[in-house]
């Protein structure tokens, strides 16, 4: 086994996430698919850090985690406020910025 397997796993996970964003209609599930893509990229960053023998990749993965956490908080708040006005969490329903 070579570290390439990790990169292949990362590629597959990223693809699954991308397909999920395109296929699913529930805004929260779409959001979870985005999280899956971020995680896949993190896995490849960690693998690259190991391949190169440098810790920079791990630091980048760490920053990605921080940004993802902040993004989740704001995104879920937006979904909540959309749900409060439109009584729906489907991405098809949110086609207006107001009302």
């Amino acid at each position: 086994m070579s570290p390439t397997n990790y990169l292949l796993l990362s590629a597959l996970l990223f693809t699954i996430g991308a397909v999920g964003v395109l296929v699913r209609r529930n805004a929260i599930v779409v959001f979870m698919c985005i999280e899956l893509m971020l995680n896949a990229v993190n896995l490849s960053l960690v693998t690259f850090a190991r391949l190169n023998g440098q810790l920079d990749g791990q630091v980048m993965a760490f920053f990605v985690m921080v940004v993802a956490a902040a993004e989740v908080v704001v995104g879920l708040a937006i979904i909540m406020s959309i749900f409060r006005t439109r009584r729906s969490s489907s991405v098809d329903d949110a086609n207006l910025l107001k009302y």
Binding site: L9, I16, L22, V23, L36, G53, D56, F62, A69
Partner: protein, 263 residues
């Protein structure tokens, strides 16, 4: 100094990798959003294990604590707030979009796997073991990097976190405005005086006389007439049913046993 992948790591990969893939697929194809969230938590847990196997124990624990612990629970929390049964609509807004997305996904996967598999076949892995950059411990090395080379990015992170927390508070705060806001007492009184209600005062209560305090007794107006609004409309509409009166029984007064019980 190259690093060799041990058998233990290979076993870990071949156990956790398929679990992560299954979790991802389950997340996309589960009908229920809560199941999706749990599948994603499974994927993230196994990814945390993979990080630890790849000489990144700090990131592995951060992954488990932050992602499966905090982020996924936040997702579940919002799912419960929004309503668990808000499942996907099966209506296709764009015709053929799902099929196109699946085709795109397969093509993308083939492309990516082919490219990665070709580009990274025989590259030597340096590894983070002793003697390389990871010397002195993973956490120490990451800390040194964060507070020297990536210090500015780290400081920007604090601004990002504060902004995110503020934004979440502003967005999620339930302001009472528009049609959904509750009308207060003062506003109700003003609306009454403005004539927006049928009458200014509340409806008169039912009358209370010495002979009865039933809600069916109407109130009497000052001129002696009956106030029809004082009785609920339901009472007039309800048919009267006479309850059966129990037959008089002298034994009930004495508390003694019935005659047939003595036999």
């Amino acid at each position: 100094m190259t690093d060799v992948i041990s058998t233990g790591e290979a076993v870990t990969f071949w156990i956790l990798g398929p679990i992560a893939l299954l979790g991802g697929l389950g997340m996309v194809f589960a009908r229920n959003a809560v199941h999706s969230a749990l599948f994603l938590a499974m994927t993230m847990l196994s990814l945390g294990g993979l990080y630890m196997a790849q000489q990144a124990p700090f990131l592995g624990f951060v992954q488990i604590i932050v992602y499966t612990g905090a982020v996924m629970m936040l997702f579940l929390f919002v799912l419960m707030l929004v309503g668990r049964d808000s499942s996907d609509s099966v209506v296709e807004v764009l015709r053929g979009q799902r099929v196109a997305a699946l085709v795109f996904g397969i093509g993308f996967a083939v492309l990516l796997v082919g490219a990665v598999g070709n580009a990274f076949t025989n590259i030597p892995s340096v590894g983070l073991a002793a003697g390389n950059a990871g010397a002195g411990g993973n956490v120490t090395g990451i800390g040194r990097l964060i507070f020297t080379k990536y210090l500015f990015a780290f400081e920007l992170t604090s601004a990002l976190l504060i902004t995110a927390a503020l934004g979440a508070m502003v967005l999620a705060y339930a302001q009472s405005r528009g049609a959904q806001s509750k009308i207060g007492q003062r506003a109700t009184v003003q609306a009454r005086l403005r004539g927006e209600h049928d009458r200014i005062s509340p409806l008169p209560g039912p009358g209370v006389f010495a002979t009865g305090n039933s809600v069916a007794v109407p109130a009497i107006l000052p001129d002696g007439s009956v106030a029809p609004e004082s009785i609920s409309a339901i009472i007039d509409a309800t048919p009267i049913e006479e309850s059966e009166k129990p037959a008089a029984d002298a034994h009930a007064l004495t508390g003694g046993p019935y005659p047939e019980d003595e036999k």
